[in-house]
Amino acid sequence: MNHASHAHPLPFWRKYIFSMDHKVIGVQYAVTSLLFLFFGFGLISLLRWQLAFPSQPVPFIGQFFNDTQMVGGIMLPEFYNQLGAMHGTIMVFLGVVPLAVGGFGNYLVPLQVGAPDMAFPKLNMMSYWVYFIGGIVMLCSFFVPAGAAQSGWTSYPPLSDVAPLGQTVWLIGMVFLITSSLLGSVNFIVTIVQLRAQGLTFFKMPFFVWAQFVTSFLLLLAFPPLEAASVMQLMDRLAGTSFFLPSGLVVGGQPLAHTGGGNPLLWQHLFWFLAHPEVYVLILPALGIVAEIIANNTRKPIYGYKVMVFATIFLGFMSFVVWAHHMFLTNMGTSMSSFFQITTMIISIPSVVILTALILSLWGGSIRFNTPMLFAVAFLPMFGIGGLTGLPLGLTASDIHLHDTYYVIGHFHYVVAPGTIFALFAGIYFWFPKVTGRKLSEFLGKLHFWPSFIFINGIFMPMFILGLAGVSRRLYSPEYAHAQAVQPLNVFISYCAWGLGLAQIPFILNFVISLFAGKKVDSNPWESTTLEWQTTSPPPHENFEHEPVVLHGPYEYSVPGQKKDFLPQNMREN
């Protein structure tokens, strides 16, 4: 398919910086969000020093901080709060979501549906740059007077309404990030609905595309209420309104000069209306990646593909009616609590269905244990632990004890860290050959996987015990009597966290070395069936030499009577 754009090579800045090619934008998203992930991890590993060795100076790096952050290398509470709040914000909004949706989604969805590009290439470019600006704004907040946001990643008022300037910067950054994901989600929905290749019916789409499709609806509909809430919080902070400030509030012993009449719980409702669906924005693309890799490396179709699709749609729908299970301790009344307990229990069903289908997919497969598969298989029990430990939090009686303790931290990190991030690593190892034409080293990959797997469990498993002991998640000083009994665990967790940091070195080395000197591979090294592998690596400017015509379902592995054990979606029987 020749046409004008092939004849005129684009200038460098148009091709790699302000590119409208979804593949370049996907790589831009992936690299930026990986940098943010490591930065966000750096923040929390600094914070871990204070928890392991309270009120002792941070060795060596302590001297690089100014007097509002550390005094004599001893971390100040305000700075501790900044590290915690910004870690959460960066990991969720600048790291995992942009990597899973912006990176993997952008690169793979048009390829997997057989489209030449996203439906709106200019909008796609814009969504990356809006995300980039939002990220820079977030980072700059460390340099404003009194530092970055300190009110937790949830920014609960009234605290956030009276917090220093950093909170305003946080809100402005959020408005950028919300706008970016809105533009992206419109693009995904239109691409998947309109631009599927001939023959690619909805039930022939790879599960990854389905996951991105449902994710896009969550981003489209759940994020705007937080934008409304951010606008209101900005008004509170800049125009002196009292949307989230009740009457008669006393701050620091002084009555606050404001009109009052607002409601702090309004923020919580609007925030969690986003932030619960956000959990599934994190997890669904991860499930999509894991499904692709498991099907490929077991050499058989995934078990219950259609059931998984229906479960995903149901999950997306239910995620909008569970948000108040984050608010059981806000005195919302038993009938409301009952409603949200019931819906929370119901939403665990589709998750269990999907996880069970993935585990059953392993049954009877001749499994290839390469690095992507190791990460994908490790995802299954990790996500399982994360899910099951969520049930006690969804029931009011047990939530009273566990609310806002380290148990909660352990729970959601099992879903998001050894869960989602492991799946994203699996995806990086799996699709690296498609993007670069070279393979990542298996040896370094395994050197990355095993220590990561051990250390990450060393971090989050003890947190359940800390939480049961009643240690609060935002406790600056673990020197209280109730926390002393479990303090050795805190030290252990910190060592594991730093170990996890070291375990990422093989990955970084692998990534950089393989980019230039990795083993060259042909276009379909994993012998996969989906459309992205049926074009060159890296794919040409408009993805396919000839527009693909889809004949088969996504996972036609080991079809009886065939010569090869895989049958690509666009190929006649071989």
Partner: protein, 198 residues
């Protein structure tokens, strides 16, 4: 922009819409959630409030009524602009789109006069929850009106080339802009009774 992307000017045979039309509908869905967040905040704050002013005594109902009429009229001229575009009558198209922009500007001017009166009488957002929600909701709606003005002016000033080269795509864009404009109109139709009348 890739020349290979399909359904830019002609509707998809199965879904019956072009890419831009589906895109604008998705965008409007998210906008509904944005204003939905504010509307639900209004309900929650008002129901939890001990005092709520009788809106007609603090807000200018006649001016807002005039504004409602202006905005509804502008939706009509927007449809006429789209119809003229589909009928390939450039002069009529320009006239109707220009009228739409003018009416939108008139809306903003009247809104500005209203705001000016409020400030003169020392009514600021921080005065009470009522004024907080009044200024926030009308302000955000005003920004959406401004967005409509920018988009329509762009088509008015720089649209001729696309009008000549890709007529169907151009008409599709006017339709998408129109859908957005009707949405902005509709938000006002909810805002007007909510803030001024009840």
């Amino acid at each position: 922009m890739s020349a290979l992307i399909k359904y830019i000017d002609k509707p998809h045979p199965v879904t019956g819409v072009t890419n831009s039309k589906l895109g604008i509908w998705c965008f409007i869905a998210s906008e509904i959630m944005l204003f939905g967040g504010l509307f639900s905040a209004y309900v929650l704050l008002r129901s939890g409030s001990t005092t709520w002013p009788h809106a007609a005594t603090v807000l200018n109902v006649p001016l807002a009524t005039l504004n409602t009429l202006i905005l509804i009229t502008s939706s009509v001229t927007m449809v006429m602009a789209w119809a003229s575009s589909a009928l390939r009558d450039y002069n009529k198209f320009r006239m109707y789109l220009g009228l739409t922009v003018l009416l939108a500007l008139a809306f903003l001017v009247i809104k500005g006069i209203e705001y000016g009166h409020k400030f003169e009488h020392h009514h600021f957002p921080k005065e009470s929850i009522f004024f907080a929600i009044y200024f926030t909701m009308t302000g955000l709606h005003g920004l959406h009106v401004l967005g409509g003005i920018v988009v329509n002016s762009y088509f008015l000033l720089f649209g001729k080339r696309m009008w000549d080269e890709h007529p169907e795509q151009f008409t599709g864009r006017i339709e998408a802009a129109g859908l957005y404009w009707h949405f902005v109109d509709l938000v006002w139709i909810f805002l007007f009774p909510l803030l001024y009348l009840v």
